[in-house]
Symmetry: C2
Subunit: 514 residues, 2 copies
């Protein structure tokens, strides 16, 4: 047994937060931009986001939505209308006050005092109010319902402490906005989109999630119900990976979204909104990354297979490239997970070993090295990113199938990897959820002690509201815990509330969270 | 002969500007948002933009670029660095000065004076300077070149007079940014991307364009050369539909984008940038629209075929829907212009005639109506949007092929329509360009008279610079004219400059423009 020399200089176990930053840097995913709280998403990171976008967009369209685009600026007055909404957002927004710069006294540029806006504009933190204005114009009769819209956009929420992908002042997301004739249909749609998110997270990102309703104090500002999908990261913390809100008639009443029903009555619509963001990429990193960098699930990998010819800047390179190109063309004609296989022949200059480790750190699912000897033997050297090391030798676990059999086997290999990454993450999560905890003291024991990754706990509670809820929140906060959601698939409650001792009404998940 | 009753209430001939607004409204493309200078892009308009994006993105990636994402906010200091760049942009930018709102004295919200930014942030009008900062970090050696990046993003340029799609304060675009080792490679790349734009405009949008270099005074702020593609609208005016800039070392020197060359010397990169925007959609409208609304070229039509069952809310509807669904499924399996055919079976409630005219105004390429009698006869009623009227009867020119032959013939019909829309627009443009004009007085005659749509003029000039150029610009401005570009495919100059009388060095196009 040899000791494996991992590709990153920091391990998950040693320092999870530092490891996360190291993966982002070493896998070339993103970097600080120099603009406060904003990041630059680099090509490999953006390529993963583009894949998520494409797959989720297909799902959103299949659920009957149409894409559109609304202005980035929202008038101040929109925020003044819906009281709980402005309370939730007013504290962290970018405010545009001028529309021109002029030369200042010391040679620099300053906002032109003559070009001050009469009413400041807000850079959208979310777009319920401006979609609401349009819905009020577009909806007249029951025939116009449901109205199902979505947009892909950037949004800004001024954040004091930022962390790449997880919490940045600007981020990219999709936001769906729908209007319905009644509560039942709107609630059903809220859950339908939650299910779309669950399917995308699990099937596309190999990210196991638990879908459920957020407790009252975690609701979106202005929502009647907020539902989420929660994923467990490798450090046992929770990541809220997507939310779907039933907004009741709160935004309809504020914006005047009404329709004439079949009886001729003017009636307020019931609306929903739901979004997932580039935060998902952070979830992929913290779920699938290892001590050698990122591992990208095949469904969202910009390149699923990377072919690395071991070039020597000699005449023999031509034959080697031709051999690799045959393999590339053969793979490009295959289908994986219902789409054409994505293969890159990486002809860049540079040492083969350096390029191999680049792609290992980036997490390309399959890396194929081809040297002169491979070509002579009609084989390729194949490395699965999810089985990188030979435990016995401590070396990379290369397989050497023939070129033809490699081309034939790779699609199934990728599909297997997609499945097994989900399974691995799900097993890890299930092992890290403690169920059946009935005493608060047990929570104190689990989370107050030395356990590094105490995971999640499922408890029963009486779903307190108002001040009683505030007390629960405080007690959890003392242990750095939050209530994540009440899983929709959980067994019915059958005991007492761990906080109040009253009869429990549902089960909820307790965790530390991002 | 009957008089045709067109679907719009205003014709191109009567009032082109009013007609343009009418098409946008009646085809449900976009509308004013209520936010100054910003529009809401509605699903059908956004669907066209999504198609343009998809096709152009494929072309940009095929040319070796990778997508990424940079912050929407640019620090003021970036604009202070490159003098001509700031001169060009500083007058029309949205300035963020605060990051929080608080309750004001009269109950409303105001920017929190305590949350004033130390340095204002600019909402990006374009991203050369912030890409430049990253390129300076990312490029060390000749091995890192060329660096070829692209982003799809929203940008803001504060505009006093706005016009939907053509000039809005916020618009959507892609901006490419590349860095190269030397001038020759950067200039070659500038032209390569111009050619990508030409191909996209002509092959995808059926928009004939003339590619050429902009005169000095029309250069992008900070550019050494600016090239454009120019399209002629149906009123004879020019629309700049895309630009590609060779930036020399201006931005490299400002941001410090240097590399170590093969000899170990530190050398400044030569950079390029290039962009096309939602303005393209305005070009499609003014090129292909007619007095019945929009006509969308099949390659960029969200739905290429729309099937309208003539439903009667009766039990017979089921059989009719099944008949239509068979046609839909058969069409969905076909390929058109290298992609799966896009077909919609529109089952919405509403009168068949109203729905037909909706789709006529939206410009769906083929509309298929199916009534009970069609079904009995095994046929469909097919309407080509590019041949809407039977001139003899003044009625819609329905064809009634059998359902099977319709499915077979439609792909070729759509491809024919794509070709003929380009040909039609090109013929119209060529007929409206006056060539061989050698005297300025002739320009005065052409553009000073009563001609409603005087079109473009090709003249020869000595390519004056500085003050001599300013005089030319003034003389043209008096006739409401601008120099568009010097077409790269034009014959060499062989005469005298129409402005200065000196020997001409190139031919340029003169036109009124959007
Ligand atoms: Zn609330
Ligand atoms: Zn300039």
């Amino acid at each position: 047994m040899f000791k494996i020399r991992h590709a990153l200089s920091v391990t998950r176990e040693a320092d999870f937060a530092a490891w996360y930053q190291a993966v982002i840097a070493e896998a070339d995913l993103a970097e600080e931009s120099g603009v406060r709280g904003c990041m630059v998403i680099k090509p490999w990171g953006y390529g993963i986001w583009e894949r998520i976008q494409r797959l989720l967009d297909d799902r959103i369209k299949a659920a009957g939505h149409e894409n559109c685009y609304f202005p980035i600026f929202i008038p101040l007055a929109n925020f003044e209308r819906e009281a709980s909404h402005v309370d939730g957002f007013a504290k962290e927004m970018a405010v545009v006050t001028h529309h021109r710069l002029i030369a200042g006294e010391n040679g620099g540029l300053i906002p032109d005092p003559e070009a001050k806006l009469e009413e400041p504009l807000i850079v959208r933190p979310t777009s319920e109010t401006i979609f609401g204005d349009a819905m009020a114009r577009w909806i007249q009769s029951w025939r116009d319902l449901p109205l199902k819209l979505n947009q892909w956009a950037n949004v800004v929420r001024w954040e004091m402490r930022t962390r790449m992908f997880l919490r940045t002042s600007e981020f990219l997301w999709q936001e769906g906005h729908t209007a319905h004739a009644d509560e039942a249909e709107a609630k059903e749609h809220t859950l339908r989109m939650l299910e779309v998110y669950r399917a995308c997270a699990e099937e596309d990102l190999a990210l196991p999630v638990i879908a459920g309703e957020k407790p009252e104090h975690e609701r979106f500002p202005g929502a009647v119900e907020t539902w989420s999908i929660e994923a467990m990261m490798q450090d046992g913390k929770a990541l809220q990976a997507g939310t779907s809100h039933y907004l009741g008639t709160n935004f309809s009443e504020a914006a005047g979204i009404q329709y004439q029903d079949r009886e001729g009555q003017q009636t307020f619509c019931h609306t929903t909104s739901w979004g997932v963001s580039t935060r998902m990429v952070g979830g992929v990193i913290m779920t699938h990354g290892d001590d050698d960098g990122l591992r990208v699930p095949p469904a969202i990998a910009p390149h699923q297979v990377v072919i690395l010819p071991m070039l020597r800047d000699k005449p023999e390179d031509d034959a080697l490239l031709a051999y690799c190109e045959e393999l590339r063309a053969s793979l490009a004609g295959k289908s994986v997970l219902g789409e054409p296989l994505r293969v890159l022949l990486d002809k860049r200059h540079g040492k083969a070993a350096a390029k191999r480790w680049d792609w290992v750190r980036k997490g390309a699912p399959l890396i194929i090295e081809v040297g002169g000897r491979d070509m002579e033997n009609g084989v390729v050297s194949l490395l699965r990113r999810d089985g990188l090391w030979d435990a016995e030798s401590g070396k990379p676990a290369f397989q050497t199938p023939s070129k033809e059999s490699a081309a034939g086997e790779i699609p199934a290999m990728l599909e297997d990897m997609q499945r097994s990454m989900l399974g691995e993450a799900r097993d890890r999560r299930e092992a890290a959820i403690t169920r059946g905890v009935t005493e608060f003291s047990e929570l104190e024991r689990i989370y107050g002690g030395d356990a590094k990754h105490p995971g999640w706990t499922e408890v029963q509670w009486s779903k307190p509201t108002g001040e009683a809820l505030e007390k629960v929140v405080e007690r959890l906060k003392a242990l750095k815990l939050t209530a994540r959601n009440a899983p929709m698939d959980a067994e019915p409650a059958n005991g007492s509330c761990i906080f109040t001792g009253e009869p429990a009404v549902e089960r909820i998940l307790i965790a530390r969270a991002y």
